[in-house]
């Protein structure tokens, strides 16, 4: 009895090896696409539409921090993922480190036709496809803000704003505004300049009530000024109703930070053809316009904005006139630990 069972098992094992070999050609036609990105950031309908059009299954996994994606990419993620979301700030290091596949952009004609080249710049053009973007700007409540107007970053360190500001956190979000306020490059790698920016930020820190949860604090009335993402502003304005007293600070000269979330293909990605198809699909004007209904963020896809609903186009969180006066977060290389050091000092106080 036992012998028979052993024989049966051996036969089964042999068969499964054969079956595996036989099924190899079938797997060569790509039926699976593995994507690693932020959670709650792409429409389920869009994914379902792509799956139906291509007879495939899209597996989404989600990150909780930008660092997660970087860790995956630098550890060699090609065997696990076909597309990974990261942001413009890391592109230079990722390209130089050889962690990314160079893209054949002729395979993404929709991207070539529709994406605004101001955001899909030459230096990153062959390694990524931009998805959505976010501005980090200043918003205030006209009824409760002690200042009549905020027109530059230096207004934020005025003593009148003590205990009034809610702010996003993170060294690479905070130091650039200080550097801009001081007249330096927002991506400075000069330690003296970073040290000066630290001094500026200690004054800013005195006015800040809390880091993070800016939109909730604005809605609950805990703060009257917030330095935050446009998406958070959209939420706060929505919560406070149509006649909300929130205005986007009318900045005159200081540029604001624009972050771009983009897809890259990790070196050695397994399902590249399908990944190209996906990238081209999301750059289709109608597809992206539908996605913007659910995720009304800033978008680098001009044709999609054209095709988007009036509600999106007239969104009050995007109603400001200095959209092109921007700076990007660039790779600061070896200066990153310097930033971290001063950021730590700032927070320890």
């Amino acid at each position: 009895m036992k012998k028979a069972m052993a024989k049966g098992l051996a036969l089964l094992m042999g068969l499964s090896v054969l079956a595996g070999a036989a099924s190899l050609p079938v797997y060569a036609e790509e039926t699976e696409l593995n994507i690693y990105m932020w959670g709650d950031y792409i429409s389920d309908d869009l994914i379902a539409g792509f799956e139906e059009a291509n007879g495939c299954k899209v597996n989404l996994s989600f990150m909780s921090d930008n660092a997660d994606a970087i860790n995956k990419l630098t550890a060699g993620a090609g065997s696990d993922y076909d597309l990974i979301m990261t942001c413009d700030a890391y592109m230079e290091s990722l390209i130089n480190g050889g962690y990314l596949e160079e893209l054949d952009t002729s395979k993404v004609p929709n991207a070539e036709a529709n994406l605004n080249k101001a955001y899909w710049t030459d230096d990153i053009h062959n390694y990524c496809v931009p998805y959505l973007m976010n501005y980090i700007y200043v918003v205030y409540n006209t009824e409760t803000c002690p200042l009549d107007e905020i027109t530059c970053y230096n207004d934020l360190i005025k003593p009148e704003l003590a205990g009034q500001i809610g702010s996003v956190d993170g060294a690479r979000n905070l130091f650039p505004i200080a550097l801009v306020a001081l007249g330096y490059d927002p991506n400075s790698t000069n330690e003296d300049e970073i040290a000066e920016a630290y001094e500026w930020l200690t004054k800013y820190n005195e006015n800040v009530v809390a880091y993070g949860s800016t939109e909730q604090n604005m809605v609950s009335g805990a703060i009257s000024v917030m330095f935050t993402y446009d998406g958070n502003t959209a939420w706060a304005m929505d919560q406070m109703g149509e006649d909300n007293p929130l205005v986007i600070a009318p900045f005159t000269e200081d540029p604001v930070q624009l972050g771009i979330d983009l897809y890259v293909m990790p070196k050695g990605a397994q399902h590249q053809e399908l990944a190209y198809k996906f990238l081209d699909y999301i750059c289709d004007a109608e597809v992206m316009a539908a996605n913007l209904v659910e995720f009304p963020y800033s978008c680098p896809n001009d044709a999609a904005i054209e095709a988007a609903s009036d509600e999106y186009k007239n969104g009050p969180a995007f109603d400001f006139d200095y959209k092109t006066n921007i700076f990007f977060q660039e790779d600061v290389g070896d200066a990153l630990p310097v930033y971290d050091q001063y950021y730590q000092m700032l927070k320890v106080g």
Binding site: D169, G170, G221
Partner: protein, 291 residues
């Protein structure tokens, strides 16, 4: 009766391995090895891009010597001490009160004390924030009763952080003290008063010394977690003031300096070990009263 003694005999014969084995494996896998790994990582180098480079370095420990970290540790010790003192001041009378009730009432009261802990810690903190926010219920009542003119900003103050830590830690202080006080023999107190001691003297000379192991356990059980906590200070403190727990968390998160985070964790371990050592001078570990 025969049957019960039979099972008892069987239990005694269970090999030691079966009794202590699973726990030992668990502890080695999930406590000892990770601890050793943390100590190992603390002697490695930070990669520019975050991550760990496996080259030996004492840089992280030299960084800790920076006065900045010293001040953070001092600040953390202070907030943990305030929390512990509050827990003792409010916890001891409460434990005394519960211990003097009949057993059924006492167990119900203990249960009441534990009920908030049936929910998730983050939920409790979020509830606190909603409760105390500018347009929240507390401010609503205060302004409508005319006690204050303008809503009070409770959130993101040291006051609220301390209250938050205190409420989170209170049960851990009450339970060991309750267990100590409950064991206290009434006859000793009667003897003390028969011999002419007034209640204050009886409390200071009899009750307090006899319940000391419970008090010390309460100190250990509140001080150590309060020292390492970061969620309470993060949420109720608005991420503005960092304690040692927050700094460690940041090293593994946004700042991505794992070796420094590991070195700070080792430092926290040393402080904890020191406390346990002091405890063992005052009372045996086996006296540690935990319910």
């Amino acid at each position: 009766m025969n049957r019960s003694s039979g099972t008892k005999k069987k239990k005694n014969r269970l090999p030691v391995l079966a009794q202590a084995g699973p726990v030992s494996v668990w502890m080695i896998l999930f406590v000892t090895l990770p601890l050793l790994f943390i100590i190992y990582v603390s002697f490695m180098t930070r990669g520019t891009f975050g991550g760990i480079e496996y080259t030996f370095s004492t840089e992280s420990y030299r960084t800790i010597l920076d006065p900045m970290y010293f001040s953070v540790i001092l600040k953390s010790l202070k907030v943990a001490a305030v929390t512990t003192i509050l827990c003792l001041l409010f916890g001891y009378p409460l434990a005394y009160f519960i211990a003097r009730k009949p057993p059924e009432t006492a167990s119900k009261l203990i249960m009441l004390l534990m009920i908030p802990f049936w929910t998730n810690g983050m939920m409790r903190l979020n509830a606190w924030m909603l409760f105390f926010q500018v347009n929240g219920p507390v401010n609503y009542v205060l302004t409508h009763l005319g006690i204050v003119e303008k809503p009070v900003m409770f959130l993101y103050t040291d006051w609220l952080v301390n209250i938050g830590l205190f409420t989170n830690m209170l049960p851990f202080a009450v339970l060991p003290m309750y267990s100590s006080i409950e064991k206290l023999q009434k006859s000793l107190l009667e003897a003390s008063s028969d011999l002419g001691a007034d209640p204050v003297r009886t409390f200071l000379k009899v009750t307090l010394p006899l319940t000391f192991p419970g008090i010390f356990s309460a100190i250990i059980l509140t001080f150590i977690p309060a020292l390492g906590t970061y969620t309470v200070t993060d949420m109720l403190g608005g991420g503005k003031v960092l304690y040692i727990g927050n700094i460690i968390k940041n090293q593994f998160g946004t700042i991505r300096n794992w070796p420094l985070g590991a070195a700070l964790s080792v430092l926290l371990l040393v402080i904890t070990a020191l406390l346990i050592f002091i405890y063992s001078r005052f009372a045996g570990i086996e006296d540690m009263e935990v319910v």
